[in-house]
C-alpha cells in the first residue's frame, strides 16, 4: 500500500509539474471563451509558436462559440477538423501540446481533454539538388520536413506496398525517423535489423541523418560511410524498387539508404539517364580517379625516396630537373602540397560561396606558382597533387570523397617507410578492412567479393536497363526479378 501511495504521490506531483513548467514558457497560452448558446466556459491551451493561429481562428473557434455543445465529445461533431482526439489520459497532454495540438478543456467536463490538430508547418520550398546535381533528369531535392520528403517519394511509388514505419529517436529532440520499404520485396531480415537498431539507439538529440548513419553503422570506427545518403527523391524511389531500405530523418534533407556497397558510392544517379556506354565510361573514369587520387603522391614519394631505378631515364631527367633546387625531401614536399590543398578545401568549405571562390583562385594560382618559384616544391608534384585533388572530387557522394581525401595520408606514410612495398602493404590493410566491413550485415565489397557475376551488370559498368532484369542478389530480396526479361523487348533476327 505504501508503495502504491508513493507512486500515486509521484504521479500527482508529476501531474502538477507539467503545468508549472509549461506556464514558465512565454509562448504557452491559455485563453477562455464562453459559448453563446449554453454559456459554458471552455478554454484553449496551446503553444502559440507551434500552432497555426489561422486554423483556430477560422475553423475551430467560430463553431465552438456559436453552435450548441454540451460535452467535449460534441466537439468532434461541430469542429470541421479531421484530427480531433478526446483523451482522459493526463500523461499524453504534454506530448500533444508539444506536437502542435490545441487542448480544449471545459469547466463542466474536467476529466476529459480534447485535442485539435493545428500544427504550423514551416516548410522550405523545394530546391535543386546541390551535391548530387545532374544536368539531365529530375531537379527536385529533399527538404528538412519528413512529411514533404515522404510526399516526394510516395508520388514516385504510388503503391500500397510501400510501407512507412515511424520511430522516435532522441530523448530530448524526439526526432521522427521513418523507415521505408516495399512489402513483399525487401528482405525482412534487413528491415528488422534497421528497426531493431533504431529502437536500441540511446541518445539525447539527433541533429541530422548523419547521426543515424553513425549510430546504425556496423563499424562506426571505419573511415568508410556504411549507409548511403542522398538528396534525390528519384534515387530513393529507385533503390526502394531495388529492394533496399530508405530511412528518412525529420529535419534532415538527406535520406539514408541501406544496405549499401562500396561500388554504389561511385555511381552517380545521372548514370541512369545517360546512354549506357557513356555512363559506363564515366564510371570507369571515376574508379580510375579514385586509385589515381589515392596513389599518385605516395608513388611519387616512394619512387623519389627509394626507387630511382623504377623511373625510366627520360622521365627521371624531367623529375630531377624539376626537383634540382628543392631543399626538402620528397615526403615533406608532398605533405606540404597535400596540406595546402586540404587547407584550401577547408577554407573554401567554411567561407561563404563568393569569398570561397576568391580563396580558390588566390590559393590555386598564387600559392601554387609562388611555392614552385620559391623552390619549395617541384612543378611535377604540383601537377600530381592538383590532379589527385581533382580526381578525388569526382566521387559523386560527398562523404566518400572525404574518405578518399583522408586515405592518401596513411599511404604517404607507408610510402615513406617502405617505398613501393609500403604502398602495397597499406593497400593490403585497406583490402582487409573493406573485406571486414558490412552494411546491415551484408558484405560491403559485393558484388566483387563475394563475387556475383550477375550483379556486376550494375557496378563498375552500367549495362542497358533491359539487361538488368534481376535485383542485386546480395540483398536477398523476396522477389529477385525486376521484370520478366523474356517479355521485354528483344532483338529481332535479320529480316524478321
Amino acid at each position: 500500500m505504501v508503495i502504491l501511495m508513493s507512486i500515486w504521490d509521484k504521479f500527482k506531483k508529476k501531474n502538477e509539474d507539467w503545468k508549472v513548467l509549461l506556464k514558465q514558457s512565454t509562448d504557452y497560452q491559455s485563453t477562455y471563451y464562453i459559448n453563446k448558446k449554453t454559456n459554458n466556459r471552455f478554454g484553449f491551451h496551446f503553444f502559440s509558436t507551434l500552432i497555426d493561429e489561422q486554423i483556430i481562428q477560422e475553423s475551430a473557434l467560430p463553431p465552438l462559440l456559436n453552435e450548441e455543445f454540451k460535452t467535449l465529445d460534441d466537439i468532434k461533431k461541430i469542429v470541421p477538423i479531421a484530427d480531433v482526439q478526446i483523451l482522459e489520459d493526463t500523461t499524453k497532454i504534454e506530448e500533444k501540446l508539444l506536437n502542435g495540438y490545441v487542448m480544449i478543456t471545459m469547466d463542466s467536463d474536467k476529466k476529459k481533454y480534447a485535442f485539435v490538430a493545428a500544427q504550423k508547418e514551416i516548410v522550405r520550398s523545394l530546391s535543386q539538388p546541390e551535391i548530387e546535381f545532374s544536368v539531365i533528369g529530375p531537379k527536385e531535392a529533399f527538404v528538412e520536413s519528413i512529411g514533404q520528403n515522404l510526399n516526394l517519394i510516395r508520388k514516385r511509388l504510388p503503391i500500397k506496398e510501400l510501407i512507412s514505419q515511424e520511430f522516435t529517436v532522441g530523448e530530448l529532440s524526439k526526432t521522427r525517423v521513418a523507415v521505408l520499404h516495399i512489402e513483399g520485396l525487401t528482405n525482412k531480415e534487413n528491415v528488422d535489423t534497421v528497426k531493431q537498431r533504431l529502437e536500441n539507439i540511446k541518445i539525447d538529440s539527433i541533429s541530422d541523418s548523419s547521426y543515424i548513419v553513425e549510430l546504425l553503422s556496423d563499424n562506426s570506427n571505419s573511415l568508410f560511410p556504411q549507409l548511403l545518403d542522398t538528396e534525390r527523391p528519384d534515387r530513393v524511389a529507385a533503390i526502394l524498387a531495388e529492394g533496399k531500405i530508405a530511412i528518412i530523418v525529420d529535419g534532415s534533407p538527406h535520406v539514408l539508404i541501406a544496405p549499401t556497397t562500396l561500388i554504389e558510392f561511385f555511381s552517380a544517379f545521372e548514370d541512369y539517364f545517360l546512354n549506357w556506354i557513356i555512363a559506363s565510361f564515366f564510371r570507369l573514369v571515376r574508379v580510375f580517379a579514385v586509385f589515381f587520387s589515392i596513389l599518385v603522391t605516395p608513388i611519387y614519394v616512394a619512387a623519389l625516396t627509394y626507387h630511382f631505378e623504377l623511373v625510366p631515364a627520360d622521365l627521371l631527367g624531367t623529375l630531377v630537373t624539376s626537383r634540382r633546387a628543392i631543399p626538402l625531401p620528397p615526403i615533406l614536399e608532398a605533405l606540404f602540397l597535400e596540406l595546402t590543398i586540404e587547407l584550401l578545401r577547408e577554407a573554401g568549405a567554411r567561407l561563404p560561396t563568393k569569398v570561397g571562390q576568391t580563396i580558390g583562385i588566390v590559393g590555386g594560382i598564387v600559392i601554387g606558382t609562388a611555392s614552385v618559384e620559391a623552390g619549395l616544391t617541384s612543378n611535377v608534384l604540383l601537377i600530381f597533387v592538383a590532379l589527385g585533388a581533382l580526381a578525388s572530387f569526382t566521387t559523386p557522394v560527398y562523404k566518400m570523397s572525404n574518405t578518399i581525401r583522408v586515405l592518401r595520408f596513411p599511404f604517404l606514410l607507408f610510402a615513406q617507410i617502405w617505398g613501393m612495398l609500403g604502398i602495397v602493404f597499406c593497400f593490403c590493410i585497406l583490402t582487409a578492412h573493406l573485406l571486414r566491413l558490412t552494411s546491415l550485415g551484408r558484405p560491403f565489397l559485393a558484388p566483387i567479393y563475394p563475387l556475383r557475376i550477375k550483379d556486376m551488370k550494375d557496378s563498375v559498368i552500367r549495362s542497358p536497363l533491359q539487361n538488368m532484369s534481376r535485383r542485386p542478389s546480395v540483398l536477398r530480396t523476396q522477389n529477385p526479378y525486376r521484370f520478366n526479361s523474356k517479355k521485354a523487348k528483344h532483338n529481332k533476327d535479320i529480316d524478321e
Binding site: H307, V311, T431, L435, L445
Partner: protein
C-alpha cells in the same frame, strides 16, 4: 558450446575453395622454382611438374575421402583413427607445422625484398607489421580470410600478362629434346617441386567450413589443375627464355624475367612485382595463421582470438634468430622435408589407417 560445430553463417560457398587452394599454393616458391628443377631434370623439368601435379591430385582425393568418412577436419580423423588424446597430441604438433610454414614464407619473401629492393629492411619489424595485418584479417573470421585469398589471387593476376614481354626473346625449341633425362632425375625434380605445390592440405582443416562440401571437390581439383598448368607454363616460358647455363646462375628466375618488361613510365618492373608479391603472400600467411589458431582452439580449447595473437607475437621473435641467408636456406630445406613427409607420406598413411578403421568399425 561444442568447439567443432561451425555456425552456418561462417561457412563459405563450395566454389570458394578454388581460390583458397590456388592462393595458398602460389607463394614465394613461384619466384624461383625453375632453377631447382632444372638442376635435376634439366629442361625436362616441366614433366616433373606434371608428375607432382598428378601426385597432388591423388593425395587430394585421399584427403576428401578421409574428411567425408569422418565428416570433419583432421582432428576428427585423428580421433577416429587413434583415439581422442593421442589424436590431440598429433594435432597439436600440426600447430608447429603451420608456424613453420608462416616462418619460411615470410623469411624467404623478406630475403627476396632485401636482395632486390631494400638491403636494410628490418626483418623483425616487417614481420611484426605483417603479422599484425594478418591478425586483423583472421579476427574478421573465416569469410574475411577467404576474401583475402580471393583478392590475393585476382589482383596480382595482371602480373601474368606482363610476362608476354618475354615472348620476343624466347626460343621454345630449347626444351627439345623431350625426355632425355632418367626417371630418377625426373622424380628428384618432382620432389623438389613439392614445396611449391604444398598448401593444399589445408582442405583437411577448412573442410567443416564449406557449405555442401561434396560440391567443393571439383573446385579443389580444378584449382590444383590450374596451378599445375600455371607452373608448367611458367617453367616452359622460363626454359625458353634462359639458356640452361644461364638459368643455373639465376636464383629468382621469375623475377629476372620481369626485368625485360619495359613500359614508358616504369623501368624496373620487377620492383613492382616484388612489392605486389605482398598480396600473394598475404593469403598464405592468413590461411596458415587461421588454421594454426583454429588448431589451438580445437586441441587445448584456448579462444581463437588469443591463439592468433600468441602466434602472431611469437613469429617475429623467432625471426630474430635468423641472421644470414644460409640459415633461411637451411630452414627452407628442413621445412621442405617436413612438408613432403606430412603431405606425401603421413597423409597417405593416415588415409590407409582411416580406411582400415572404417572397415573395423563397420564390423
Amino acid at each position: 558450446m561444442d568447439s567443432h560445430v561451425v555456425p552456418e553463417t561462417s561457412k563459405v560457398s563450395p566454389f570458394l575453395l578454388f581460390y583458397i587452394i590456388i592462393s595458398i599454393q602460389i607463394g614465394v616458391g613461384v619466384l624461383g622454382y625453375q632453377r631447382v628443377i632444372a638442376e635435376h631434370a634439366g629442361y625436362d623439368g616441366w614433366i616433373s611438374i606434371l608428375i607432382t601435379g598428378i601426385a597432388v591430385h591423388i593425395v587430394m582425393w585421399m584427403m576428401f575421402k578421409m574428411a567425408e568418412t569422418t565428416d570433419g577436419d583432421i582432428i576428427k580423423v585423428h580421433q577416429y583413427v587413434i583415439g581422442n588424446i593421442a589424436g590431440k597430441i598429433i594435432s597439436f604438433l600440426l600447430i608447429i607445422y603451420f608456424m613453420l610454414y608462416i616462418l619460411v614464407i615470410l623469411l624467404n619473401y623478406i630475403q627476396v625484398i632485401q636482395i632486390w629492393m631494400f638491403p636494410d629492411l628490418s626483418t623483425f619489424w616487417y614481420t611484426l607489421a605483417f603479422m599484425a595485418l594478418c591478425t586483423y584479417v583472421v579476427f574478421g573470421g573465416f569469410r574475411t580470410v577467404v576474401g583475402v585469398s580471393f583478392f590475393g589471387m585476382v589482383l596480382p593476376a595482371y602480373l601474368l600478362i606482363t610476362l608476354v614481354f618475354t615472348f620476343r626473346y624466347s626460343n621454345f625449341t630449347q626444351i627439345l629434346p623431350i625426355l632425355d633425362h632418367s626417371l630418377i632425375d625426373l622424380l628428384t625434380a618432382s620432389y623438389h617441386m613439392s614445396l611449391t605445390f604444398v598448401g593444399f592440405e589445408i582442405i583437411l582443416f577448412v573442410y567443416p567450413f564449406i557449405k555442401e562440401p561434396q560440391k567443393s571437390k571439383k573446385w579443389a581439383h580444378l584449382a590444383v589443375l590450374v596451378t599445375t598448368l600455371f607452373y608448367t607454363f611458367l617453367a616452359i616460358l622460363t626454359f625458353a627464355y634462359f639458356s640452361e647455363g644461364q638459368l643455373q646462375k639465376t636464383v629468382w628466375a621469375t623475377l629476372s624475367m620481369w626485368q625485360i618488361v619495359q613500359l614508358p613510365f616504369v623501368e624496373r618492373f620487377e620492383y613492382i612485382a616484388v612489392a605486389n608479391w605482398n598480396l600473394i603472400i598475404l593469403p598464405n600467411i592468413c590461411l596458415s595463421l587461421w588454421v594454426a589458431s583454429r588448431l589451438i582452439k580445437r586441441t587445448i580449447h584456448l579462444k581463437q582470438r588469443k591463439g592468433t595473437v600468441i602466434i602472431a607475437a611469437i613469429i617475429p621473435l623467432i625471426t630474430l634468430l635468423f641472421k644470414t641467408g644460409e640459415q633461411v636456406q637451411k630452414l627452407s630445406e628442413i621445412t621442405q622435408k617436413i612438408t613432403f613427409g606430412f603431405v606425401f607420406v603421413y597423409i597417405p598413411l593416415l588415409f590407409i589407417a582411416t580406411m582400415i578403421a572404417k572397415r573395423v568399425k563397420k564390423q
